[in-house]
Each structure stands twice: as C-alpha cells, then as structure tokens.
Symmetry: C2
Subunit: 158 residues, 2 copies
C-alpha cells in the first residue's frame, strides 16, 4: 500500500511539476522580461539594421501587417520588407506588456519614431504606435509572431 | 503513515487540478472558440452598430490603436470612437487564432471591409487587415484588449 501511494504521488507530482514550469514564468516577472526583450529588439535594430533585427527576433510563423501592403509572412520575407533605406532610422519603445499565465504567449504595446530625409533633403520625423504579439520558443526565448503599427499625430509640445 | 501520504496526495493533487483547468481550455478547442467569438463580434456589429459592439466585446482595459489618431482606451471612449457614420458598414472575418496553453490570452488575425459613400455620392469599398488580442474574463468569456488594423490594397481580381 505504501508503495502504491508513493507511485501515485510520483504519478501526480511529475506532471504537476511539468505544468508548473511555464506557469512560473508568467506573471509580473514575465511582463518585465517581455518589456526587456522588446527594448533589446529596438537596440538590436539600431546595431544591425531593422530588417536583420526583425528576422532575428521573428517566430517561424511571424506575420507583419503593414499599411497599404499585404501581410508579410516568414523570416525571409520580413527581412526584405522591414529593411529601411539608408539614412532612415526606426526606434521604438514598449510601454505595456502582458503575458499569459502559462508564459508562452504575450504582447507588447509601444510607440515608434521614424526619422529620415524626404526627396527634397528635408529631415522628417514620423510617429506611431504598435502592437507586437510574442511566443515563447522551446529554448525559452521570446520571438514576435505578429507585428502591426499605425501612424500617430506628432506628440503635443509642452 | 497512510494518512500522511493521503494528505500529501491531496496537497499535490489539488493544485495540479487547479493548474490543469485553464490548460484544458487552451489548444485547438480554444482557437476554434476564439475564431467563433470574433465572427460573432462582427455579426453583432452589423446588428447593433460598430461602436456598441466594440464596447460590448471590450475588456475593461481595452486599447484601440487607430491610424492617424492617438490610442483610444476604455469602453466608453471605444464606443464613441468606433461608431461609424450612417451609411458606412464595417465587416470583418478572422483567418487565424492562437491561444496560450493557459487559455487566458489569445489573438485573432483577419481581414475587414469598409463600405460607404464618399462626399460626391460614389460608393467605395476599402480593405484592410487586423490583429485583435483577447483576454479571457472571470466568467469564461473572451473580450478584446487590443484592436489594431491597417489598410490593404484591393484584392486581386481573378
């Protein structure tokens, strides 16, 4: 009887531990982690280029939903599409993250700025906001699976 | 000893069952459920108006990220913002859903069409795609927490 109960304990305990693992990475710690990942993503884009960074941080099923174009699916297409002309920069900053209790799906919201020069040589800054959906990978890292943004009015001057 | 082990079984079993409950509502069944909810959401918008439907399906922290405007936060602001002029219709259809293993967070992707009449009386149709992020509520229902879309080129004619 003792042996049977011990086996029962093991039978219950092992799956419980397995299902507890992703849950442990949900909650506030996971939100902070996702904020950090999205911030690093923007920094990486400054270092290696937006197209390359978008590909590096993309889930295999990643989908961009750009304005005035069809959906862009998969890392290779994303790399081509997201690459910016020389002299144009894109920086962004998350302002919110939320993550499922299981720690395998989350999203970030944030704002972005595009700086460049128009055809007549004038510098411009365009503003926008975005939502990125993220999936945790088998190695524990986060990759974005949906990326979509919309233009915003210039911020109010104070 | 038997009693101690039984208590140990209970101590392990009860949290395991509790953590198994949300997991049971993830997976393919939850994806199908979210596709249905988003489809019903569009049908509801045809019946009671887009603004009212957006408010009814909104999480308390819902955020719309519309083009050329600032983020719109909360049900009351969403209701006002999403209401369309008389004679304008918005219909949408999800083509993908994914849900966290814990069943508490998910998203849908889809396409939309806006039909209306321009100032000169001509009918137009505008096309777009969207991402909605959804949170499961305490009562088990899904409400959207992020809504964002971008215009698409007209579909290719065949």
């Amino acid at each position: 009887m003792k042996r049977t109960l011990a086996a029962l304990v093991a039978a219950i305990l092992l799956p419980a531990l397995a299902s507890a693992r992703p849950r442990a990475v949900g909650g506030e710690a996971a939100k902070a982690e996702l904020m950090s990942v999205d911030t690093e993503f923007s920094q990486t884009a400054q270092e290696i280029g937006v197209g390359e960074a978008f590909a590096r941080y993309a889930d295999a099923d990643a989908v961009m939903l750009p304005a005035d174009a069809n959906a862009v699916t998969g890392r290779a297409a994303v790399r081509r599409f997201a690459e910016l002309p020389a002299g144009t920069s894109l920086v962004w900053k998350p302002n919110k993250a939320d993550v499922a209790a299981s720690g395998d799906l989350g999203y970030t919201l944030g704002t972005y700025e595009v700086r460049g020069k128009s055809a007549d040589g004038r510098s411009y800054t365009r503003y926008g906001k975005y939502c990125s959906v993220w999936k945790r990978q088998k190695d524990g890292s986060w990759k974005w699976v949906v990326d979509i943004g919309t233009p915003s009015p210039p911020p109010q001057q104070h």
